[in-house]
Symmetry: C2
Subunit: 193 residues, 2 copies
């Protein structure tokens, strides 16, 4: 099981946004939709061993966490609108502090970064981190930020976690996920370089 | 200069499609939009040294080639709709066999794979190819297919070109572009693994 979490600093926490305005009114929800695509899609199917957690911190009722579970995920297509529609449905549910399933493989709960930290161990993907290719053993959990840097408060919550970098150039979160999974694919398949 | 070309086997060749229906009515134009995103976006800006060629082979007037040139590209945002809107504008122009600019950095012409082959040398990204990490010197041009395999006729046009693979698992075209550019970034920056 590989777990990937992405913090959406401005991402809307109700399902009243328009799929045609995800970069605007939905608080850069388009970025999170592309992260879902990057985390799950293979040419011929889905990565069933992935869980992807979106930590939504925007108005009107932050924070919430939407979890996509590859093992049971259905009705996901690669286009942004498809992931956006599943997030919209999840955000339409009334929620408490336990995950509640909105559609197969998608669940939502109240909670933010302090809750995520308690859920599973992870390294932080960050441009200042150690090269993933040079890491002898990759962890099974990863956290990324959206287009905004982690705030000082968030960095304090993250503490002294391992920092890993996917390359010499700073990438969008979804591209970083693609590079990370390629490195994991290669190690699993015994492709050495 | 790095040139990346993607064949869209069903991609619509007129600008009358809806941005909210790119996977359907536009013939999987969403795939090509994500390839544009993958080819150009860095966290803080665009890859100015990239040219990306979309070879559109769908109805009603195939084939056409839409070229995105990083050096002069403007008005491109990372979401699929943004690239889709620029492709729509390009396909609204009457065209002949020379590139004609539709918006800054975007141009369109009549033409298909035989024309592309004459424009610049390239390797083919293909799951059966040689690992890019094992290639001592990467070329400066690359061709990929969308969700459909190259047809026998297309393979005949491509001939005995170098075939390169980005990893042990078959990826979507846009993900393959991300992995490819990461390898190029690493070589340029002297990151060895």
């Amino acid at each position: 099981m590989i777990r990937i979490a992405v913090v959406g600093h401005l991402a809307r926490t109700s399902g009243d946004f328009f799929l045609s305005d995800m970069p605007g009114g939905a608080g850069r929800m388009d970025i999170l939709c592309r992260c879902i695509n990057a985390a799950f899609f293979l040419s011929h199917g889905l990565r069933r061993e992935i869980e992807c957690y979106l930590v939504l911190c925007g108005p009107p009722s932050p924070p919430k966490i939407v979890r996509f579970s590859g093992a049971s995920l259905r009705s996901l297509n690669p286009d942004e609108r498809s992931a956006g529609a599943l997030i919209k449905k999840a955000l339409g549910l009334p929620v408490g502090s336990e995950f509640r399933e909105s559609t197969p493989g998608v669940a939502v709960r109240r909670g933010g970064l302090p809750d995520l930290v308690a859920m599973f161990p992870f390294a932080v993907l960050d441009e200042g981190g150690r090269d993933i290719r040079a890491s002898p053993r990759l962890p099974e959990g990863f956290l990324l930020s959206d287009h905004l840097d982690f705030s000082p408060e968030e960095r304090a919550i993250l503490g002294e976690r391992e920092m890993l970098s996917v390359g010499p150039v700073t990438l969008h979160a979804d591209h970083a996920i693609v590079v990370l999974l390629n490195e994991i694919d290669r190690r699993r398949a015994g492709w050495t370089s």
